[in-house]
């Protein structure tokens, strides 16, 4: 092996070059796509055609099932473009989802019989056919390498002698494809090195070639090789339907770091460069710090190096600090300091709510502690749990609208309805919509593997290869599926507004309100504002807070109280990703003063300007969201947008640390946070291209502000403008 520590490299220059490259990639991506309302995903813009033709196994011209997927994946990686940034420590990047025309669902397997109910209850994301969204145990790959994975597949094929070897056929073909792709990069690195005039860069490229020549078959031996292995995993995982979970990154890399440092072949500057190169490669979700199974904190020097790499690179990175009572205070403080310095940074997963909630399902708390934050909003037990998080949304608003229409009809029929009638109808519709989601989950579990196999993540689970079963088909031991509700504040404020203005004060009747909603408040702006200006959810102690808790409990009981018809347990959370614009676009006006087509409320967060007088307070928001947690181990994140002015105030950092600790203590599960000034966000909204470096946490994910559509940017502007200065 080469020994880079012997020849000091200008690591900061390398990292700056990566930052500039990301900037250029983003500019070209936006030229190609217009906007990107999702993670950066690490893909490199590529405009040349890729000479791949799918080998189909279905009359629709596509390939389905694990064998066909693996064979096509191998062919795809044999032609997939090569990418090496000469100043990166690592090789590889993906350029588009692929293999093209592979996977998806055959028309005959799609749940057409459920679609009418999906449509009725505005279920835009049923989760049927969704991919990934569970956590791999990357120690499996780091211990075996690609060659070791291949040998493991062959060993268990021989042991199991399956009557249908499709699983092993597909997985082996896939690993062979990855090995081919790595081998091609070896040659590419050598070609680049031969043409390179700069001696340092030439040396780096030669090192990349040698390192990857080993990694084609061998397991990683060094910190840099471990990062390179993870980069290859990230690239193939992401191109296969946008997989994005990595794991407890500091613990994955700590053994390599300690061995390298002890051997004198790695210093912290080089380690930071390797990590920055890994983040440049992709933005897979990871966690640092937090409790081990026995509760002791796992923070290590690698945790700090990860923060340092994020800080120096300053591109979107999806990293979470796992907050618990025993967390290293210095790690928490460093994470918050960099949040202030960079405007965005880590999210903070809260162990108390997550661990205690998950343990309520009957699991030991020792196991619950290992459920790492490895997704946008979500956690998973790495390598042993199939959870299909973050892809199933329960719109809480549409059942409410249908319930309201029922009650208005009662009033039109001469009945004098009250809040009990409205609540009963809401429970009825919410129950039906949850039920159809559960049927969808069963349908997914029964049909998914035959259509779109989890060909990448299967390799990094405990049981899949050993049993020859896809993770969806019994490959692991633990199954907890997930549903995320959204629009809580819209419903809670609507219920409170009706209760106050219609039932208590009798300022208007049910039918009049129904007519106004049907006509989108036309000619009744004063009534709209009257309905909007009630003591709202988030204030604390209001009727809207009461309704928010009641809705959350009802939703949670419906989801968690009974399994699916086929017996799968569903764990409820409250989370809306960034899609509240699209969800609201199709919905009529609501009694909380929301106009037709406007976004619905975000996750379980109070609406912007929820406090009396139109302001907000992070403490109020944090307390409100902590109070409505379903408490079964899935997340209900709070989104905090802190004015940058706090950075200039003595004690500002300590205040944010206190916010985080208190949210954890109150049973919250996740804090997503931006530190940004009103002036900066307004300027960037007007001219996004003039602020190319502005990175924001949209919800659970981090993105360049300029990459977002105008509607998504507006969400952030509304949130930030409503915060106190």
């Amino acid at each position: 092996m080469d020994n880079l520590a012997d020849s000091r490299r200008p690591y900061d220059e390398h990292i700056q070059a990566l930052c500039h490259a990301k900037d250029e990639h983003t500019r070209r991506k936006l030229q190609l796509r217009g906007y990107l309302d999702i993670d950066d995903h690490g893909w490199v813009p590529w405009e040349d055609p890729i000479p791949f033709a799918v080998t189909p196994n279905h009359h629709d011209g596509r390939a389905y099932g694990i064998r066909a997927t693996g064979e096509n994946f191998r062919a795809w990686l044999q032609v997939h473009p090569l990418y090496i940034h000469p100043r990166s420590a690592l090789a590889g990047a993906w350029v588009q989802f692929g293999p093209p025309a592979v996977g998806g669902w055959r028309s005959e397997d799609r749940p057409g019989h459920l679609q009418p109910e999906f449509d009725r209850y505005h279920i835009r994301n049923s989760g049927v056919g969704a991919m990934n969204h569970f956590g791999p145990d990357m120690r499996i790959g780091l211990e075996l390498g690609w060659g070791g994975l291949l040998r493991k597949l062959r060993r268990f094929r021989a042991l199991n002698r399956p009557s249908d070897p499709a699983f092993y056929d597909g997985e082996e073909a896939f690993v062979e494809g990855v090995q081919c792709w790595i081998q091609r990069h070896v040659g590419h690195a050598r070609e680049l090195a031969a043409a390179e005039a700069n001696a340092d860069i030439q040396d780096n490229l030669r090192h990349i070639a040698a390192m990857n020549e080993w990694l084609v078959d061998g397991a990683p031996r060094t910190f840099r090789e471990a990062c390179q292995f993870l980069a290859w995993f990230q690239s193939v995982d992401r191109m296969w339907h946008a997989g994005g979970a990595l794991g407890q990154l500091d613990e994955l890399l700590r053994p390599f770091y300690e061995a390298d440092v002890a051997a004198g072949r790695l210093d912290d500057d080089e380690a930071v460069w390797c990590l920055a190169s890994l983040f440049f490669n992709d933005t897979h979700y990871s966690q640092i710090g937090g409790p081990a199974a026995d509760g002791h904190d796992v923070t290590s020097p690698v945790s700090f190096l990860i923060l340092e790499a994020m800080h120096r690179l300053r591109i979107p990175v999806n990293m979470a600090v796992r907050l618990h009572d025993g967390l290293d205070e210095n790690l928490l403080r460093r994470a918050v300091e960099y949040l202030f310095a960079d405007g965005t940074g880590c999210s903070f997963a809260c162990s108390k709510g997550l661990d205690e909630g998950f343990a309520r399902n009957g699991y030991p708390v020792e196991l619950a502690r290992l459920r790492a934050k490895v997704g946008c909003n979500w956690t998973a037990l790495p390598g042993i749990e199939y959870c299909l998080q973050d892809v199933t949304r329960q719109c809480l608003v549409t059942p409410f609208q249908l319930a309201f229409q029922d009650v208005v009809q009662l009033a039109r029929d001469g009945y004098d309805p009250d809040m009990d009638d409205l609540w009963d109808r809401y429970c009825h519709h919410l129950g039906l919509s949850v039920e159809v989601l559960k049927q969808g989950k069963d349908w997914h579990m029964a049909h998914h593997a035959n259509n779109t196999a989890e060909i990448v993540l299967n390799l990094f689970m405990h049981g899949t290869v050993e049993r020859g079963l896809d993770v969806v088909c019994g490959g692991v031991d633990i199954y907890n599926l997930a549903v995320d509700g959204l629009g809580l504040a819209t419903v809670a404020d609507s219920l409170a507004a009706i209760e106050q203005r219609v039932c208590s004060e009798q300022r208007l009747g049910w039918t009049r309100l129904g007519d106004l909603l049907d006509h989108n408040w036309e000619g009744a702006e004063d009534v709209r504002l009257m309905m909007k200006n009630i003591p709202r959810y988030g204030t604390g102690g209001t009727r809207a807070d009461y309704w928010a808790l009641r809705v959350s409990e009802q939703y949670s009981n419906l989801v968690r109280g009974t399994p699916t018809p086929h017996g799968y347990r569903i764990l409820p959370g409250l989370f809306s990703h960034g899609t509240i614009v699209a969800w609201g676009r199709d919905l009529g006006a609501t009694p909380n003063g929301r106009r037709e087509g406007e976004p619905i409320s975000h996750s379980a967060n109070p609406d912007p300007g929820f406090l009396p007088g139109g302001g907000g307070a992070p403490t109020a928001k944090s307390t409100a969201v902590a109070a409505v947690q379903p408490r079964w181990g899935n997340t209900t994140p709070v989104q905090l947008d802190i004015d940058r002015g706090l950075a200039g105030i003595i004690g500002g950092i300590e205040s944010v640390i206190a916010l985080l600790k208190a949210h954890n203590e109150l049973g919250g599960t996740l804090v997503n946070i931006n530190v940004i000034s009103r002036e900066q966000i307004l300027e960037a909204h007007d001219d996004p291209a003039a602020h190319p470096d502005l990175v924001v946490r949209v919800t659970g994910y981090s993105a360049y502000f300029r990459s977002l559509s105008r509607e998504y940017r507006q969400q952030l502007v509304d949130r930030i403008m409503a915060e106190p200065r």
Partner: protein, 305 residues
């Protein structure tokens, strides 16, 4: 016990240590020309009027018992000479064009809001701050409120400007963990011109407070052309630095948030003010630093040059 409160600010980070809730009491014994809370000066209720927010619904006209709201063809006006500030219009204005400045609240009402953020106080060493206006003018209410806060284990701070009989503050000290004492200027003429009194009573009470041994901090709003001199800032620092119970001295660069509020109250600033320039503030801080145990200021709030 009822007090007149004009604002309750949660996640307050500028009025004492840690995360706090600041209770702003209405009524003041000073008349600071730069006041950033002009609605705090008068004890009686007032109406804030923002005509640009009016949607012309006419609800205020319907409920006003004295006809103070006048709606013309082009504009909605509030006749302040007629208005009794009864607040009926504000309670019916859902557009936020008319707002009441000042609410009567019981100790229990205020306490209910304060305790909502107790977990955040605990993790930050924060608590509750009673500010104003001049909260000591409502000493009986403030005393009862602070006593209740202490009963709940909350750290208490009192933000006061000292222009009253010493006995009022002295009677509150047993329920105040930290006094935040405002000193605007030492020079009597400057004080008279900008604050409305010569500051003698404030200086005397400052010495009494220092002599009492009760923990206190001193805060000075630093305003360009008014008190941003080494004589003023250094002089204040020299005086307060002699007291061992001083915890810190804080310089607060002026900000203009009060101007819009003043306009909404139907009043206008007689004079415009500005924050000191950053390097000048830093020089002042350097002067003061030698006299006090802990000098605090936020240069980011100063004027950038």
């Amino acid at each position: 016990m009822i007090g007149t409160v004009f604002n309750l600010q949660r996640f307050s980070t500028a009025d004492g240590p840690g995360v706090r809730t600041t209770v702003f009491m209405k009524g003041c014994s000073n008349q600071c020309a730069w006041c950033h809370n002009p609605e705090s000066i008068r004890r009686e209720a007032e109406i804030r009027f923002y005509p640009d927010r009016c949607i012309g619904c006419g609800r205020c006209l319907q409920v006003c018992p004295v006809g103070a709201h006048v709606s013309g063809a082009e504009a909605h006006n509030l006749d302040r000479a007629t208005c009794t500030a009864c607040g009926l219009c504000a309670s019916e204005c859902f557009a936020g064009a008319v707002e009441a400045a000042g609410t009567s609240m019981s100790v229990e009402d205020v306490l209910r809001e304060i305790v909502k953020d107790a977990p955040y106080y605990r993790h930050s060493g924060g608590g509750v701050t009673i500010s104003g206006g001049e909260p000591v003018l409502q000493a009986e209410f403030v005393g009862e409120l602070l006593r209740a806060c202490q009963y709940h284990g909350l750290h208490t701070a009192l933000d006061t400007a000292g222009h009253y009989a010493w006995s009022l503050l002295d009677g509150l000290l047993d329920v105040v963990d930290l006094v935040l004492y405002d000193v605007k200027a030492l020079d009597p003429d400057t004080h008279l011109r900008y604050v409305g009194n010569d500051g003698r009573l404030i200086r005397e009470n400052l010495h009494r407070l220092g002599g009492s041994g009760h923990p206190f901090a001193v805060r000075t709003p630093v305003i360009a052309g008014v008190n941003d001199t080494e004589a003023e800032i250094g002089g204040i620092a020299r005086i307060i630095g002699q007291y061992s119970s001083l915890t810190y001295y804080e310089l607060l660069p002026y900000h203009a948030l009060g101007n819009a509020k003043l306009q909404s109250l139907g009043r206008h600033a007689a004079e415009r003010f500005a924050a000191p320039e950053r390097h000048h503030l830093e020089n002042l801080a350097a002067t003061a630093e030698s006299f006090v145990p802990d000098l605090r200021y936020s240069s980011s709030l100063a004027r950038q040059t």
